[in-house]
Symmetry: C2
Subunit: 134 residues, 2 copies
DNA sequence: CAGAATCCGTGGAGATACTG
DNA sequence: CAGTATCTCCACGGATTCTG
């Protein structure tokens, strides 16, 4: 397979990985890149909310208990930069800004749900394993 | 759905999320927890290698260019604590330690591959979106 | 309403050196 | 061979203040 830098995807299906794995290429692996983007404190939750319907800025602020304005802005900007979320400004007074998933963002929800299902389904096993190793 | 703290999974399928999302419960969401565990620098690569076959410690060290002994140990320990990787010590001289995926670890590879496929398949779009917003 | 700008504290990643 | 021990550093996240 030639579409991944490190063969991470391919290897999960039982193909070969170049060993040793080159350090420089692994750093640019798209899979790792995606995981890092999803794993911060608020991204997953915002994706989930926006997966239901569009939201305005302060609407999200109210919907997510505990998030600061700064982190809400920052997280939305990153999602927008990656093309997962679209930001639309309505020239009203006061200004209204709406956020919604792009088609790319919507398409991400499917594989993400599969992983989420696994997490939910096996969370008890992980918790049990953790307590066992205390 | 009652198996997830925040409804993240359920909402991805179009169900309801409790709004506002309680801060304390979201912190313990199994999905976020899993993503965090997968998103560090080496976990994904080690899972991938161990998905092919068992490895000894220094064998992994050689296979992963750029990883330090400390991070290799730490990452493997975390995977072991979570029950994804099994560590087996052979009382030879010098000592031999083998790492392999547990059945739980193997089962994770499937949904993870789906996400990896998405990452590979849409990486060009993400890269394009990023450059567009320069 | 929807942010930008600034400051700050802290956890955890990672390098280096040492060891049974 | 397979680890520990110790250190540094910075980027992630939060609080606060200001604005078109």
């Amino acid at each position: 397979m030639s579409t991944t830098n490190t063969g991470v995807t391919a290897s999960m299906r039982g193909h070969q990985l170049p060993v040793p794995v080159p350090a420089g290429e692994y750093a640019r692996c798209p899979v790792t890149d995606l995981l890092r983007g999803l794993s911060d404190k608020w991204t997953l939750l915002l994706l989930t909310l926006l997966g239901q319907r569009p939201y305005r800025f302060n609407e999200l602020h109210r919907a997510v208990e505990g998030i600061s304005q700064r982190m809400l802005t920052r997280t939305l900007r990153t999602l927008e930069t990656d093309g997962l979320v679209a930001r639309e400004v309505f020239p009203t007074l006061p200004p209204t800004v709406e956020y919604r998933l792009t088609p790319l963002g919507v398409s991400l929800l499917e594989p993400l749900s599969a992983l989420a299902d696994w997490a939910v389904g096996h969370h008890a096993e992980i918790t049990a394993a953790r307590q066992r190793s205390t």
